[in-house]
């Protein structure tokens, strides 16, 4: 079913902040821009044993209730440079019809603009074209399942 799009962990940024923490001798840095916030901390007393869960170096804002929809693992592919993401809400089809072979399969070489999927929205079938040429290394959706805007469908490398 539909999934939340969640920001992936920007590990490099965390490492950079951790470096700054050491360099400056701070015990905490919180860094926020729209859509991303990182807090890194290193408490002196935590060097022997971690008494305090707040010492975990990365924190996503956590004050909101947590009953929301589960976070899909595939969401982390959305920022992959070779990700093919859904430009609309709809139902994805991996083949032109149920009796045909899929448009693409893992391992296939695709050319730029080659049709990889169809997405049905408002009773219209919209072809989803490969954004670049390359090899299909992952297909992240099953045929006839709903997809949301921005959801990763496949990865091309």
């Amino acid at each position: 079913m539909a999934k939340n799009l969640k920001p992936t962990i920007e590990s490099d940024l965390v490492r950079e902040l951790a470096g700054l923490l050491d360099e400056t001798g701070l015990s905490e840095i919180e860094y926020g821009t729209d859509g991303l916030s990182i807090r890194v901390a290193k408490h002196a007393v935590a060097s022997t044993a971690s008494l305090n869960p707040a010492a975990v170096p990365v924190e996503v804002p956590i004050a909101a209730p947590k009953q929301g929809a589960p976070i899909a693992n595939e969401a982390s592919y959305a920022d992959h440079p070779g990700a093919v993401t859904s430009p609309m809400v709809g139902v994805v089809y991996t083949a032109p019809d149920p009796n045909s072979a899929p448009f693409v399969q893992v391992g296939d070489q695709v050319t730029k603009d080659q049709t990889m999927f169809l997405i049905e929205a408002m009773k219209v079938f919209n072809p989803i074209a490969a954004p670049k040429a390359g090899k299909v290394v992952l297909i992240l959706v099953d045929s006839e399942t709903p997809v949301e805007f921005g959801e990763p469908l496949a990865v091309i490398e």
Partner: protein, 449 residues
């Protein structure tokens, strides 16, 4: 029976509707733009679907994406909230064509009330008092001059397709009429793609008073009293209260009865609001809002009725569970709209919330999707919270409001809380003595930094 509702909105109203769904045992689907992935109503939703990028026209106004989202999630109803698609008749029709219930009035009623000239005629026909002026569209300057003379100056020229204060021009005297006429037509064409204009008497010190109605489409219509929304800045309501300090019980009962009969006569269904200007004891129709309003909680507080619940029930085909005689009004309620903006310059102030602590205790309600660590996105309306207080009478309500505003902590961004704190200390406001221009003057006279 409605079993799953897609909420085609964001922010506090999406959360408000979601709460009603949860309390009714109805599943809810949150749709959101990329910018709202961390919003409270998305986190609390049974299901959520990202429908587009941050700009509203590509997400919250993207009718295809919303209908698709409803289809793939098997929602059997859509609640549009306020703003966005809530008064878009074509969208309402499209929803119905997909066999999804639109939680609001019929497309025809939305369309009728969206055309200000047609709306005025329609409500006048069913007994709603209107401002003297032209009988519909005015198409020539000569006609305008004649009508203005009959109506008496000053007069107001308004765009037929306007609303929310846009597309209006005052003519103080015959000498100013031609310029005002040409200006209004040009602006109407530019702003709304429709240069139709009409003429109304201009009131100098009116209050904005509106009457809330609920209709079930089975012939049952009730009114839930009035709200006084005169405190406006640039035609945006800032603080609303119910009942209005300006009405006496006779006036209240009379306008309520008039509105109820009119709404019954036009065959309206769902929640709706008829807005009036009120001056010298007389009401004059402004427009009818065919949707839930931002300020609906003040009505809920004084009459004990959950308006969103009733909208959902009615959309599901249920009759109203009460008659006018069952409705009792208790005490006084005030709502403050809290915006992410500088309280003096009114510049928007999006950004990440630091500490957040909502006021609590007796008679205090907060409708907000804020939480500590949430980032207010810069793409949408600046209203981030509504503080509603209820008390036995207006004086106690003001004192409670003062107390609650003092308790409210929203760190990290600027908010309009200080403006409200100033407001509730102003003698005119304390005395209930204000019109629709009062707030602009109050703001202009605030001491600078």
């Amino acid at each position: 029976m409605i079993e799953k509702i897609l909420i085609a909105n964001r922010g506090e109203i999406a959360l408000r509707i979601q709460r009603a769904c949860r309390e009714m045992g109805i599943q809810s689907v949150a749709v959101h733009s990329i910018a709202d992935a961390d919003a409270m109503h998305v986190r609390l939703a049974d299901e959520s679907i990202c429908i587009g990028p941050p700009p509203a026209r590509e997400s919250y106004l993207n009718t295809h994406a919303i209908i698709s989202a409803a289809t793939i999630s098997n929602a059997d109803a859509i609640h549009p909230g306020y703003g966005f698609l809530s008064e878009n008749a074509d969208f309402a029709a499209m929803v119905e064509e997909h066999d999804i219930a639109f939680i609001g009035p019929s497309p025809d009623h939305i369309r009728l009330m969206g055309d200000k000239i047609a709306a005025k005629k329609a409500v006048a026909d069913v007994g709603i008092p209107i401002l003297p002026g032209s009988d519909g569209e005015v198409t020539s300057l000569v006609d305008a001059q004649e009508i203005a003379m009959e109506t008496g100056y000053p007069i107001l020229i308004k765009a037929a397709a306007g609303g929310g204060g846009r597309g209006m021009k005052v003519a103080e005297d015959p000498a100013g009429l031609e310029e005002a006429y040409q200006f209004a037509r040009t602006e109407a064409e530019l702003a709304f793609g429709n240069d139709a204009i009409y003429i109304e008497k201009f009131l100098s010190q009116p209050r904005h008073i509106e009457v809330q109605v609920l209709a079930d489409g089975h012939g049952n219509v009730v009114h839930l009293g009035e709200r006084d929304c005169s405190l406006q800045r640039r035609h945006q309501k800032v603080l609303e209260e119910a009942p209005s300090p300006a009405l006496n019980q006779t006036q209240r009962d009379a306008i309520g009865e008039t509105v109820t009969q009119a709404v019954k006569a036009i065959g309206y269904k769902s929640a709706g609001t008829i807005e009036f200007l009120f001056e010298d004891g007389e009401f004059y129709f402004i427009e009818m809002n065919t949707r839930l309003q931002v300020e609906h909680p003040v009505t809920e507080m004084i009459c004990g009725i959950d308006l969103v619940r009733e909208m959902i029930r009615v959309a599901g085909g249920a009759p109203l569970g009460f008659k006018q005689s069952d409705i009792r009004f208790h005490g006084h309620a005030i709502e403050c709209r809290i915006n992410a903006e500088d309280p003096r310059t009114f510049n928007p102030s999006p950004g990440r919330i630091g500490d957040y602590h909502a006021p609590g205790g007796l008679g205090v309600r907060v409708d907000s999707g804020l939480y500590s660590g949430y980032a207010v996105p810069p793409y949408y309306d600046s209203m981030i919270a509504k503080l509603i207080v209820h008390a036995t009478n207006r004086n106690e309500c003001l004192m409670r409001l003062r107390r609650a505003l003092e308790e409210f902590v929203i760190d990290g961004i600027s908010t309009s809380i200080p403006l409200h704190q100033g407001l509730i200390g102003a003698p005119d406001f304390i005395n209930g003595d204000y019109d629709i221009h009062w707030l602009e003057t109050f703001v202009a006279e605030l001491p600078g930094d």
